[in-house]
């Protein structure tokens, strides 16, 4: 049976169009918001129709969620940058990136319907991930705000780590599906502690080492965290051994403590988190402005366009959630978080009904990354945890992030298509007999 999500899709589009229309009144921007709105609605509805045709059995509820998040992000980026000196063009750029992302999703569902083929090239993906990360250390890489995350290839610059993450998860899914039984079984015991077989555990340790390298050389706390925790969770999902998680967190705690004492940029983040009042005009400035804006929103928000989130430096990227919390209030921000949670729920659901271990692990890994990234950045900007510079998926301004997340959504769609076909076949066979 073909799954339909036209109604949720239209709902998501309508909500965002209301947002765009509101901006006409509050920002005295007469036509641009409607142009953006029409463009956005057309792109994503077209994408929805294409996916309906290409993957009739997929979990199409993924798309209304993506539409909702992308739309809210675009409304907010437009609102925060319209007529603001220095950033006027960002909304246009973001709109273009949404188009590119949609194309990437389309190509993903077009060419990777048999995504299982990817697992055959898993070592190639591991290699690709390493190459992407190392790219930032070549002369092509450059620093922004003290973190060396960017690579310029001719006129296009991108953040390789956004794509390295996906490659890495493909590798892990394929690899862990193969060796999960071997890892789950204990090979030897030393001083009463059970150790996994090092031969099979090697690649896992290697990736963890790479995440540490990221932390040290790129000063990318966010990617480093994701590179560490996501494989850990995949390891748990594959083997069911809590010991891995505990050992991992122990290592994480030790690593974090060392990083705190050795690296200035880690210390700055932690100090700014623990006591932003100590240096309110310096280290603590950004997080304090964020908290002030969040609090200013109150229960129902100041209303779209009536907040002051421009006081937060770089608000359109890492801190866009503060602007949303400020103008849409606790109710709006919670609704957005719920939307994220529904995406996570669908992702886990797709993993649970997937046919084989590798597909399950792939869907789970992608979802876990999405969830942890969201929790990390939202927790960071509301001072629940130290700030790590990751983007809010689909919402934050940023080309690499938008395209990367559209690819993730595309992969989840193809995985769900496979299990959907399966169910359909089983269902029709039962019907025939």
């Amino acid at each position: 049976m073909t799954q339909r999500a036209t109604l949720p899709m239209l709902l998501a589009i309508s909500i965002c169009l209301v947002g765009f229309s509101t901006l006409i009144f509050v920002q005295e921007a007469t036509s641009p918001p409607l142009i953006y709105g029409a463009y956005y609605a057309g792109t994503l509805f077209g994408l929805y129709l294409a996916v309906r045709v290409l993957l009739p059995n997929s979990d199409v509820l993924i798309l209304p969620i993506v539409t909702m998040l992308t739309g809210v992000g675009l409304v907010m980026i437009f609102r925060l940058t319209y007529d603001v000196e220095g950033v006027e063009g960002l909304a246009i750029t973001q709109a273009v990136w949404i188009l590119v992302g949609s194309a990437a999703l389309f190509l993903t569902v077009l060419f990777f319907r048999d995504y299982e083929r990817l697992f055959g090239y898993k070592y190639l993906f591991a290699f690709l991930a390493m190459v992407l990360i190392c790219l930032t250390f070549t002369p092509l890489g450059y620093e922004v705000n003290g973190a060396r995350l960017w690579v310029a290839l001719g006129p296009v610059s991108f953040q390789p780590s956004e794509f390295a993450r996906i490659a890495l998860i493909i590798f892990f899914a394929g690899y862990l599906a193969e060796v999960r039984d071997l890892l789950a079984a204990t090979s030897r015991t030393f001083m009463g502690i059970q150790f996994p077989n090092l031969k099979y555990f090697g690649p896992v340790a290697l990736v963890w080492a790479a995440s540490l390298a990221l932390l040290v050389f790129e000063k990318d706390l966010g990617s480093s965290l994701l590179f560490f925790v996501v494989p850990l969770l995949m390891l748990y999902a594959a083997t069911g051994r809590v010991a891995y998680v505990l050992a991992g967190f122990l290592m994480f705690a030790v690593g974090s403590t060392i990083a705190y004492f050795v690296f200035g940029h880690v210390r700055v983040r932690v100090v700014a988190w623990l006591d932003p009042w100590r240096d309110p005009d310096g280290m603590g400035f950004q997080i304090l402005q964020s908290i002030f804006n969040v609090a200013d929103g109150g229960l129902t928000g100041t209303g779209l366009g009536a907040g002051f989130a421009q006081t937060i430096p770089e608000v359109q990227t890492d801190f866009i959630f503060s602007a949303i919390a400020s103008e849409l209030g606790l109710l709006g921000a919670s609704a957005l978080l719920l939307t994220f949670l529904v995406f996570v729920y669908r992702g886990i659901k797709i993993a649970m009904v997937a046919r084989d271990a590798a597909s399950k692990l792939l869907a789970f890994g992608l979802t876990a990354m999405f969830a942890i990234q969201t929790i990390t950045i939202v927790g960071g900007v509301i001072r629940a945890i130290p700030l790590t510079g990751v983007t809010l998926p689909f919402v934050s301004y940023g080309g690499s992030s938008v395209v990367g997340n559209f690819i993730i959504a595309g992969l989840l769609l193809v995985i769900s298509e496979k299990s959907g076909q399966n169910e359909r076949r089983v269902g029709s066979e039962e019907g025939n007999s």
Partner: protein, 525 residues
């Protein structure tokens, strides 16, 4: 594997729930305190869009802060800037309002009223708030008597060290009549000079009246005396001073090594004899009653209902013989000592101190008026009167004879020794002593003896008050009369009719006519 997947989903869901909880904490629970944080400039930015209310002195005429419209250069909406016509004179009370550095004083404490974001109280306000249009703020009138404020300010400014504070209040109502901290600053150009001010060693941004803690020295003896009277010590009880008081663990000598011989308790206060107060405290009162009495007077209290932040006075832990005459870890602020003088002057009843007289909507309707409230019954009236008489003795027969006037004054000097240079010079007083209308505390940092700097500063305020006393009271009566708006015929209107019957300016003529008809009919009926 599905079991593991489900478990991790619960973990993620838990994470999202935690995020919503933290959001709720900031947006609901901590919202108000963050909005009023001095580092938070969002409120000041918001004020650029709508005129903030005006702040007046008690006479309802002297403007302390107002908003000035500045037409936009680019043709958009006008913005508003804040003007302080009285400059540094009221900076310690009114505070500043800056888009870069946030806000302090009345500006932030009364922000809800001044910015018009308080709950709407008229129909116009309700409509404005719902429609989201720029909302003009309410006007706030303070209890500060402009002439007293000027006298107090000049008194501290012209003192020898030029650093100090004066607080004057009405002991019967708790109204603050003057509150001065000097050196001060000009809030008009706070953005330009903020960095300079914050690095200034004279600390002009510190509100010495409410947030500066100083050893109170001998002015604290009136608190100790109150505790002694409660304990049954009578002013006529005799004590002997040998110039030194010694008990195991305690040794106290008199200021300037004075030796006074046999004196009664009242005389001990008049001459401010440390050894006898140490003796009375150690032998008779005891630590418990001393702490309790100081607490009743307001020690340890941050006066949560007061609009300016107050740093609590503290007796601290330490040598009670020293604490008894205001040394050791005994620290207090000028606001607290004014409260002590006012409480004794008011028959032992401490009134809740307040700075806001009333709040009015932009069209003059009273929204809120502060009523005098009893804060604490500190002393029996009889004991308070006895103590007041002892303080009259201090002025008439003792250390404070420079304060003698045609009316009786009750007072007490304080010479608070401090490790940093000359002692702080204190004086607390109330006048007229038999029916006090004003209580004052003055402190000049490193000003020397109490009678050298603190006394003349406090008396400058009292003299000003006594001079204008004759015409000040009727003026206040006038003020009360004016509270109810009068119609053109001079007939006071009832409260229901206070509602502004003014029409919007730009209505079509036919609608305007029908409105007028409606009102005429209503008036006729």
């Amino acid at each position: 594997m599905n079991r593991h997947l489900r478990r991790t989903f619960y973990l993620f869901a838990l994470g999202f729930v935690a995020l919503v909880a933290v959001l709720a904490y900031w947006q609901v629970y901590a919202r108000e305190s963050l909005a009023n944080n001095p580092e938070n400039s969002l409120q000041t930015r918001r004020a650029l869009e709508a005129p903030r209310g005006t702040i007046f002195a008690a006479n309802g005429e002297t403007v302390l802060a107002r908003s000035e419209e500045q037409p936009s250069e680019t043709g958009g909406n006008s913005t508003y800037s804040r003007v302080y016509p009285e400059g540094p004179l009221y900076a310690g009370i009114v505070g500043y309002w800056s888009t870069r550095y946030g806000a302090t004083g009345i500006e932030i404490a009364e922000n809800a009223n001044l910015s018009g974001t308080a709950d709407p109280s008229t129909l116009d306000e309700l409509i404005n708030q719902v429609s989201g249009g720029p909302q003009p703020g309410n006007n706030v009138t303070l209890t500060i008597n402009d002439e007293l404020q000027r006298a107090a300010y000049n008194a501290v400014a012209s003192s020898e060290t030029g650093r100090g504070s004066i607080v004057a209040m009405d002991p019967q109502t708790g109204e603050i009549l003057a509150l001065v901290s000097y050196p001060s600053y000009d809030p008009n150009n706070i953005d330009e000079v903020f960095d300079e001010l914050i690095n200034d060693p004279a600390e002009p941004l510190l509100n010495r009246a409410t947030q500066g803690l100083y050893p109170p020295g001998s002015v604290f003896k009136v608190v100790t005396a109150a505790a002694a009277l409660k304990d049954g010590v009578r002013p006529t009880d005799m004590f002997t001073d040998t110039g030194v008081f010694e008990r195991p663990g305690y040794t106290v000598v008199n200021y300037d090594d004075g030796v006074y011989g046999a004196v009664n308790f009242a005389r001990a206060l008049e001459l401010s004899i440390n050894t006898i107060f140490a003796q009375v405290t150690v032998d008779e009162i005891g630590a418990e009653l001393l702490y309790e009495t100081a607490g009743d007077f307001g020690y340890g209290s941050s006066y949560e209902d007061f609009v300016l932040p107050v740093t609590p006075s503290q007796l601290g832990q330490g040598d009670i013989a020293q604490l008894a005459f205001g040394q050791d870890s005994n620290v207090s602020n000028v606001f607290e000592m004014a409260q002590v003088a006012a409480t004794i002057a008011n028959g032992g009843t401490a009134m809740e101190p307040h700075l806001i007289r009333e709040v009015r909507s932009p069209d003059g309707v009273i929204i809120d008026r502060t009523q005098p409230q009893v804060r604490e019954e500190v002393l029996d009236e009889q004991l308070a009167d006895t103590l007041q008489d002892m303080m009259v003795g201090v002025v008439d027969e003792g250390s404070a004879n420079l304060a003698q006037r045609s009316v009786e004054i009750a007072g007490k000097t304080g010479t608070a020794e401090t490790p940093s240079g000359d002692p702080h010079s204190w004086f607390i007083a109330s006048a007229p002593a038999d029916e006090p209308q004003i209580a004052v505390a003055a402190m000049i940092e490193n000003g020397g003896d109490g009678e050298a700097a603190g006394l003349p500063a406090a008396m400058a305020v009292i003299d000003t008050y006594l001079d204008l006393d004759g015409n000040a009271q009727p003026q206040m009566e006038d003020q009360l009369q004016q509270d109810l708006p009068t119609d053109p015929q001079g007939i006071p209107q009832g409260l229901e009719e206070n509602f502004p019957q003014q029409l919007p300016q730009d209505l079509p003529p036919e609608i305007q006519q029908s409105f007028e008809q409606f009102f005429q009919q209503g008036g006729a009926g």
